[in-house]
């Protein structure tokens, strides 16, 4: 471990890696600061740029966007009362109240401090847990991998938004798309219509680029046409200056920070949960810590920010050790890893231990950068809020063509990107969540290939999936996840009836 750590340190401290971390962090902060833009879009924007880079700087820039993006959502939440990212929604409650009272600087300072606290806390957990989990996962066979991935996929339920039916349909359609291309066991062509470019299947990246970027671009263009842009500016931007919490404030909020960071890290490690839930749960803790929460107090800003940044390291645990992304951002990260020849999973720790530790150290460096950049450059980020979104969207639109083409130098991928974008727009419009489809697309191949391989080993007997305790546990957990929304209302009715 120490050997990998020292090798990772050498890799992470190379000047070009630090430069790319810096660029990524700035970009993540900028995109998260502007309401309506997401750092997932920034990740998509940067992926084609990473094609020309070595794996480490490429991953560094994306990690910068990821961590910077988680932290930057608080800027507009505090100054405009509009969360830059869904994860910063809870920050609005007290942050905006503080801004209205003329304490925007104090709120911003607390947000930065809490973000870095949460981020570093989750990194420590990641460093402790991930290598151990990877060692266990190395012993998994096809049955266990199948069951594990089915469990990862069952989180579709919690990603389904308001309609479980539509979420499941989106997920199933994503799985169906993974059957296009060569059959994983027999090598036969399926649903390719004789097109050679479809033999490699429907690429994850072109679909992600299309589904995340195009609907956002088209909606921005339409809003620009109708002049429905954001115009709320309650804070005098000239006087905004972040002020770091005092030692007394840090002491009084220390245990709340620990609790909130732990909530974020724990929830982040469970695929399908993520930042918004973590930040509201932490906000609930803040309310218990200080009953004045909601009227503009630092606890109400610190707790959700520590939690949503805690998600960063937490989400990396299943991604790096098991190759299971928990949300759209980690799914994009997984795609980027694959493009650069690094398949996340237990073998990543075995074959590229130095690189894994370089990633850990990079996250630490990035959080130090977040602290410095956000604290000293807050005035610049305030100005970013005025940047015309249409101009940025034109750049992103051009990058969607480059990004989808450059993966395989295949024009078919550009067409896939376009149709995925159109489908994404229609899905969004008619209430179908996109993330279940993406998650299914990422996991579909692994599910089918391991399911069929396991059956070959067992001569067609399904017992193989229940004979292994690991497999059985994951399948039971998956079943619970899938049935929970159906069972819970029935149980609640019974409890109410009993009480009556």
């Amino acid at each position: 471990m120490l050997e990998y750590f020292s090798q990772g340190l050498v890799i992470a401290l190379q000047w070009e890696n630090i430069l790319f971390m810096f660029i990524g962090t700035i970009l993540g902060l900028v995109f998260a600061s502007i309401p309506g833009l997401t750092f997932s879009t920034a990740l998509i924007l940067m992926i084609p740029v990473t094609f020309g880079l070595d794996p480490v700087p490429a991953i560094s820039v994306l990690l910068g966007v990821f961590a910077g993006g988680m932290s930057g959502g608080s800027i507009s939440a505090i100054l405009l009362g509009i969360p830059g990212t869904p994860s910063a929604a809870a920050t609005v409650i007290d942050g905006y109240e503080m801004a209205k009272k003329g304490e925007a600087g104090r709120a911003l300072g607390m947000a930065v401090y809490a973000s870095v606290f949460g981020g570093i806390f989750s990194l420590l957990v990641l460093m402790l847990v991930a290598p151990q989990l990877a060692k266990v996962a190395l012993k998994f066979g096809p049955a266990e991998i199948f069951a594990l991935v089915i469990f990862g996929l069952s989180t579709i339920v919690s990603l389904s938004g308001t309609s479980l039916n539509k979420g499941l349909l989106a997920g199933m359609f994503g799985l169906l798309l993974t059957t296009v291309g060569l059959d994983p066991v027999m090598g036969l062509q399926r649903f390719t219509f004789g097109q050679s470019w479809l033999m490699i299947g429907i690429g994850i990246m072109p679909v992600m680029i299309g589904m995340f970027a195009l609907p956002e671009i088209i909606e921005t263009f339409q809003r620009a046409k109708n002049n429905k842009g954001v115009s709320k500016e309650p804070t005098d931007k000239q006087v905004v200056k972040a002020s770091f919490p005092t030692l007394k404030e840090m002491k009084s909020t220390f245990f709340l920070m620990i609790k909130s960071s732990a909530i974020g890290t724990g929830l982040g490690a469970i695929p399908g949960t993520g930042g918004p839930i973590a930040s509201f749960l932490a906000y609930d803790q803040a309310k218990r810590h200080n009953p004045k929460c909601g009227k503009g107090v630092i606890e109400g800003v610190g707790a959700p920010e520590a939690a949503n940044n805690g998600v960063t390291g937490g989400a990396m645990i299943p991604l790096l050790t098991l190759g299971i992304p928990g949300d759209s951002a980690t799914a994009i990260m997984l795609g980027a890893f694959l493009i650069h020849g690094l398949a996340p999973g237990p073998l990543l720790f075995q074959n590229y231990g130095d690189l894994v530790y370089a990633i850990f150290i990079s996250i630490l460096i990035i959080y130090i950068m977040v602290l410095v950049i956000q604290f000293f450059g807050i005035r610049l980020f305030v100005r970013v809020l005025d940047f015309p979104k249409v101009n940025l969207m034109i750049v992103i639109l051009a990058m969607t063509v480059v990004g989808s083409f450059a993966i395989n130098l295949n024009f078919g991928d550009v067409l896939i990107m376009f149709f995925a974008g159109l489908l994404g727009y229609l899905m969004k419009r008619y209430g179908f969540p996109i993330t279940p489809l993406i998650l299914a697309l990422v996991l579909g191949y692994t599910i089918e290939s391991n399911f069929r391989k396991a059956l070959v080993y067992s001569d067609g007997s399904l017992d193989i999936f229940v004979q292994s305790p690991v497999s059985l546990v994951f399948l039971i957990l998956a079943l619970i996840m899938l049935l929970a929304p159906l069972i819970k209302p029935i149980l609640e009715k019974r409890v109410k009836a009993d009480k009556a």
């Binding site: 509009i82 309609s163 169906l176 034109i394």
Partner: protein
Amino acid sequence: MKQNRIIATVLLVIIAFWAYLTTQLPETTMIGEPGPKFVPAVLLGIMAILSVSLYFTKDLQKAEETEIEADEIEKEIEPQEELPMSGALKLFGIFFVGIILVYLVGFTIGLIVSLSAMLWMIGWKLFPRAILFSTTVTLAIYFLFSWALKIPLPNGSLF
């Protein structure tokens, strides 16, 4: 409800077509292995059930995941007004024409034309603002990728 029924009908048509394609796949030749038809058939079956349920029932509300009301998250993120579908489809149409142009005449010309057209559609003056901005963005990206990062971009099949 009516909207759900239309979506369900479209989905059932797609499922029927995909099911027909699935029946055309060959059988397995390995013992114990369910073959290439199995997974698509199972998925299509589940999708058919879900589509039919979309027909007859209201959306099943997801149970609350936590003690915290899910509404609280929605409440903090400002709901945005729905935009007309026709405008979006026009923009998608122009972008699609742009993609075909990129395929035929190459990245720079194809993209300059489609980006300018899109900007003009949303109210920018075509000349000089839209054309100049589109040209600057396209050329900057072209030089970044083709020269600096050495990543080839489409040259156009006609050239």
